[in-house]
Structures are given as C-alpha cells and as structure tokens.
Amino acid sequence: MSALYAQVLLNGLMLGALYACIAVGFSLVWGVLNVISMMHGSFVILAGYLTCAAFTGAGIHPFAALVPVALLLLLLGYFLQLGLINRVVSQPVLTTLTLTFGLDMILYNLMNVWFEATPRRVTLDLGRLEFGEVVLPLDRAAAMVLALAMTGLLYVILRGSRLGRAIVAVRMDRDAAALMGIRVPRVYAATFGLGAMMAGACGALLALVYPITTNVTGQLLGKAFIVCVIGGLGTVPGALAGGLVLGLVESFGGHWFGPQVAPLLGFALMLVLLAVKPTGLFGQRGYE
C-alpha cells in the first residue's frame, strides 16, 4: 500500500511541475502588466504544434526544438505587446482581457486551419524506471527537470539581469520606474515576451507527454489561473509552489475520492485561499 502512495505522490509532483511550467509565464504577465493573457493556453499549444511539426517534418527531438521554439514565441510575444497590447495596457483589466480574448480566438482558429484540431503527439517513448512497485516515466521526469530548469532560469533573469531588475521595478511602481528612466513600454514588451517564451518552452515539453490539440487551450488557461491564485501573482516561487500544490491535491484527491472530484478540490482550495489569504501562498500584499 505504501508503494501505491509513493506512486500517487510521485504522480502529483510530476503533474505539479507541469502545471508550474504552464503557469509561470502567465503569472509573470499578470503580476507585472496586470494583463490576464487569455492567449496563454494557445501559446502553449502553438509551441506544441511547432515541436510536433519539427519532429515529424525533420526528426528534430523535442528537447532540441525547445530553445528555438521558445525563442520564436518570445519574439511573437514581444511584438504583440509592443504593437498591440501596449496601446491599451493602462486601461482597466477588462479591456486588456477582451483584447487578448479576441487575439486568442484568432490564434486558436488559425491553428485549427493550419494544424487541424486532431490530437497529435511526438511519438517518442523514453521508457520508465521501476523501483519495485513505483514507476517513474522518464519523459515526464525529463520534462519535469527541464520545466524546473526553465523556471529557475526565469528566476535568475528576474533577480540578476538589468532587464529583470527593470521588470521588478516596473511591477513595484510603474510611475517611479518611468521617472528613473526605464522605458516602460519596452519592459512590458519584454515581460510579455518572456511569458510567451515560458509558454513556448512548456509547449515543447508538453508535446512529448501530452496530446497536442487546440481543444485543450482553455483547460491549460484554467490550470494557470488556479495555480496563480494558489501561489500568488508575479513571482516565480509562487507559480512553482502553486503548481506543485495543485498537482498533489489533484493526485491524492483523485486517488481518495475518484477522478471526478479531483478538479473540484483544486477549485475548492482556490476559494479557501481567496477567503483566507487572497495574496496566495507567496504573493505580496498590494500585488494581488
């Protein structure tokens, strides 16, 4: 029985890392720009499609495709923000929400036309490690390590680089940052680009372990949303903690109460946190 619980724990951690990876870019954009990017799920799936296309077309391994795909998404995000979203970024959150919602519909249906909604997957299976009764699927484990590495990289960028300090400064006080000579629109574009880049990296990893189809963009967005509320907005550790908590809750919930109840528990946890600690586990007051 203990082996079964070890398996449930492991499953929860791996699922959680994936959730964290999905959410971290979304959380960054929401926290810094106060933009709820409805396109986030579609960005992840777009990257997934690109990775699948690179694999079926040219035999490129998803791990090798990860960096170019993530960079492509970075460019897409940067220019979308610079050209379009920046025009309304200081408007109330509903305006930016509507804009990204509209952009998402365009991207979503373009993907339906280009790639078709048929689920596809990179048909590589890396096998699994078995420790007695407990099984560790290698591709999920590798995806988890890479997801953690990418999240760590983002953390380092935010903490250590000039750009990262500028992003944090803009998040803290937009007007003061502008007075200090930070070009706020550029920082916004870079932030949105970084958010899209994380979505891109996540999509490349997802292509290995998850069927890629436009059908799931809404679900990905929903998970990112819950993770942000649980973990707190705009912080990398927050997204990581939120993702892991959600993964574990769903895994143990699914085990004890059946799969039907698992997603419900995630939402219940979100409600409890909103009532008790609206900033989330790692959020700071004032940035909720």
């Binding site: 079964l4 689920p119 596809r120 299976d125 699927p137 769903e250 919930g253 799969p259």
Partner: protein, 402 residues
Amino acid sequence: MNTGRSVARTGRSALGILVALLAIAGPTAAQTVRIGAPLALTGGLADEGKKQQVAYDLWAKRVNAAGGMTVGAKKLKVEIVSYDYQTNEQRASQIAEKLITQDKVDFLTAPFGSGHTKVVAGVAERYGVPVVASVASSESVFNQGFRNLFGTLAPNAGLTDGLVRLVAKQLPATRRIAVLGREDVFPKSMAAAMVDAAKRGTLEVVYNELYPVGSMDFSAPLAKIKSLKPDWIFVAGYTKDLVLARKQMADLGVSAPVVTMVTGPAYREFAEALGPLAEGVTSATWWVPALAFRSDDVFGTTQAFTADFQAREKGEPDYVHASAAAALVALQKAVEKAGTLDKAKVRDALAALDIVTFYGPIRFSPNGMNAGRDLPIIQVQGGKAVVLQPEALKQGTLRPMK
C-alpha cells in the same frame, strides 16, 4: 408632409422588396431540395464538423450528377445550406432556428455528437422539421420523445455486447474488468453500457469511475486500476483523452490482456498520435471501409463510397464520413417514397424506412435510432485497424496485449 412622403416611400420600397423576394424565392424553392446543416467548422469539433461537410458534399455531388432527387414526378437538385456554429451549443441552436425560419430549409441534419444533436433536434421538433443525425448514438438523446429525429448509428449497447461476446469466446480467462469513462453524453453512456454488458456476461467490474471533461491527467485513476490487476481495461472518451490515457498507461506500467478504447482505433488519428503504443488496442465501431454492402442508393456499394472519398481526401473514410452520407441517403429514400417534400409525410416515410445502403441496413426503431446489427469489432495490429468481427469480414483474430 414630410412624414407622409416617407411613409409612402417606405411602403413602396417594402413592396419592392416583397416583389424581389417573391421573384427570388418562388422559382428556387420549387427547384431545389434545401437541406440545412449546422456544422462545427471552427472550434473544438472542427475536424469532426469537416468530416460531415465532406460526406454531405460527396452525397450532394452524386445526387446532382444523377439529375437530382426524385420528388413525385419531378427531379429536383439538392442543396446543402450550412453554417459554422463554432462548436458552441447556443449558436448551434440559433443556427438551427435560422435555417428553419429564414433559409426555409426542407430538412435538417444534426451536428457531430450526442450533445449537440440533442440541441438541434429540440429546435427542429418545435417546427416539425425532420432531422437526420449521423453521429449520435446515446439513448439519452433519443428518449426525449423527439418525433422528427432519426439517427443512423445503432445504440451503444450494440457495441459493448459484441465486445463481451468476442472476448468471452477468444480469451475465456478474462474475469475482471476496469471501466473508466468521460463524464460526457456519449462516453458516459458507453461506459454504463459496458458495465451492464460485463455484468450480463458474468465479468466482475472491479473499477467503475468517470473522469470530468477537463481532465489533463489520468495518473490517479490509472495507479488505482493498476493496483486492482484487471484482465480487461475499458476506457470511453474522445481521441485526445484516449491518446493521453494510453500514453500514461505505458508510463505507469499499467497493462491488461485486453485494452479497449472507444472509439479510439476507429479513427486513423488515434494510431497516428500513438505510434507503437496503439498496437493491440481494441474497439467496436459502427462502420469500416472493409464492409461490402450492395445497394440501390446513389453510391451503390461500400467500395464506390470509399473510392469517391479517396478521390478527394487522403486516407480512408471512417464511420463519421459513412454515417453522415448514409443519413442523407436515408432522407433521400424517404423523400422519394413519400413523393413530396411535405415535412410530416417525409417524417412518416423515414419512420417506415427499411433499406440497405452502402453503409449497411437502415431501419429506425420507434425511438428514431437505427436498429442494431452485427457491428464491427477492430484491433490495431501492425499499425492498422483490423476487423475481428463480423465473421464474414474477419481480417484477423483477437491478440492479447503484451
């Protein structure tokens, strides 16, 4: 003064519009049979919607090439009037309404899936318009008392009973079955049908759970199933879920001598997305191109339909294509028998229909569903879906999973 003139002007232009409308509507209404088709051409069901569109078009081309549909003494061309409902339930209902009241279609087809079929059938029922449904197989759609709804798929139980019989015969050691289904109209009803069939066939149901529509992970139910050591794992869902479930089964080392996924292997996409992991997965389906029916409909034979399809699309048609074309064949036969486009008379002709088509026999039960027959059971062998049953079409025998 001013008002008087504008009233006169409005009156004149209204009259003009009326005359114009009569001029347009008069002759065309008499010359074509208009069939409304709400289709999911964008959104989540876009691929399925396109399959229906292709099949409707194949049928319409054939009929029009033969001079049209015989209605009484006349031959009338057919026209498919379709709109994209964007996989949005509310919009499906609005479009059905628009097709009936504004486009004045004679008959309707239902969109993909049990859920959306129910919505469109509800609208059509209010206006007394006959609806032919090609991709709805759940009793919960046909037990609503819709008098005008006719579906070409046989009930779900027809799929599960055949599976239980086949497995009992060829792998008699099979005792314990685990059933996992998606909480959605068709898969839920399919999972329930499987549990019933299993109990009738003296199998022990060791696991019976539903997963919610937004599930992104199956590791929790699969870990549980693994610990129960079933002989047969049965999953009912849509292709995306089934691909993920099969992949996670491999990840977690969950296996059983029989693994059935409904309707996974019936779609080419299932094996394409899974590669070697699809090997050995069984399913039941309503139609496969290997069937060989002869008929006096516009297609004539199953092979002719497949050839028509292949001249235009890549790969082989699946049951969605065939059933969609067959729904219109049934409608055509009913109109020709009724000899009129009168909706009530065509409805009665549909209810009394008993024909063999390129797709197979069509005879609607009192609830509007096509009566069950010996439905094909398939297994992925060597990357292809191979027919295990019916006996006459057998391409291979059931192999246990490794």
